[in-house]
């Protein structure tokens, strides 16, 4: 298949992001302009073609959102660009304040990430054993209620120490494999 045909077919697929009514009424016009625009970059180096496709995708995304929200057509991202420029100017005008704000933001982000990782790994993630629900904890309890960790010469001895009512749930072979 020739390259322009493939590009047009891909662009036609991208038109699926548009609302149905707009796609039906505009498809022929959009494909025509796209075909002409693509013909100019078809033989260009890949960075040029990549920029071209990114522009086409951004254009369709902006049009799709604007059409659904009933926004009047204008240069895409014009307001966002203005906001970013204003923010950059204000940030460069007071570098100390900007550094403090960025540092606070970084600390907050780091604390949030660490908390999230700890909660996930310590509380939510399953233990790093096969069938972790079969693990048992063995404690010795004295008559006065004192508890301590018993020591066993090997896993088989530990398995033998498990009371009979729990023994069915403990597979010494599996314990040995983990040893």
């Amino acid at each position: 298949m020739r390259e322009p045909d493939r590009a047009v077919r891909l662009y036609r697929r991208l038109l699926a992001v548009l609302p149905d009514a707009l796609r039906r009424e505009a498809e022929a016009d959009l494909l025509e302009v796209f075909r002409d625009a693509h013909a100019r970059v078809a033989a260009a180096a890949w960075p040029v073609r990549l920029r071209f496709w990114m522009r086409m995708i951004a254009d369709l995304a902006v049009v799709s959102i604007a059409e659904r929200k009933g926004v009047r057509p204008m240069r895409p991202f014009a307001r966002l660009q203005g906001d970013i420029r204003l923010a950059a100017r204000r940030a460069s005008a007071s570098p100390g304040w900007t550094a403090a704000a960025a540092g606070t933001l970084a600390l907050g982000l780091a604390a949030s990430i660490v908390t999230g990782v700890l909660v996930r790994d310590v509380l939510l993630a399953p233990l790093n054993f096969p069938q972790p629900e079969r693990l048992v904890r063995i404690l010795e309890v004295s008559e006065n209620g004192r508890r301590w960790w018993p020591s066993f010469p090997n896993a088989a001895a530990a398995a033998a120490a498990v009371p009979a009512r729990l023994a069915a749930r403990v597979d010494p072979a599996a314990v040995l494999r983990q040893e």
């Binding site: 002409d36 254009d59 895409p76």
Partner: protein
């Protein structure tokens, strides 16, 4: 009675650029896209979708019209777009408005 073109002023720069691109006659969509991207400063560039919505709005306002495919001998595959008489009046009124604004902004005697 014809509507007063001043009712539609001021035009947005992209809308004015589209009308200006058609001042010399009917043109296909790709030529209009190139002209608008060359004359309206700033990035990112206009794409086919944004241009289509803009031209649809100008058509609804009666400022431009579409010449169906195959009615021109230049290229039967392409649809052409042209100014309507109302569109030409609005374009001229906007150009005059911009000239007045420029005159106001210019130091006296510099012109």
């Amino acid at each position: 009675m014809q509507p007063d073109p001043r009712d539609l002023l001021p035009l947005r720069p992209v809308a004015f650029a589209v009308l200006a691109a058609l001042a010399d006659g009917a043109r296909p969509g790709i030529d209009i896209l190139d002209e608008v991207n060359a004359t309206v400063p700033g990035r990112p560039l206009l794409g086919p979708g944004t241009l289509y919505r803009l031209m649809r709005e100008l058509r609804q306002d009666g400022l431009i019209e579409r010449i169906p495919r195959g009615t021109r001998s230049d290229d039967e595959r392409q649809a052409f777009h042209a100014l309507t008489p109302a569109g030409r009046r609005v374009m001229r009124a906007e150009a005059a408005r911009l000239r007045r604004t420029l005159k106001l902004a210019s130091p006296q005697g510099s012109e």
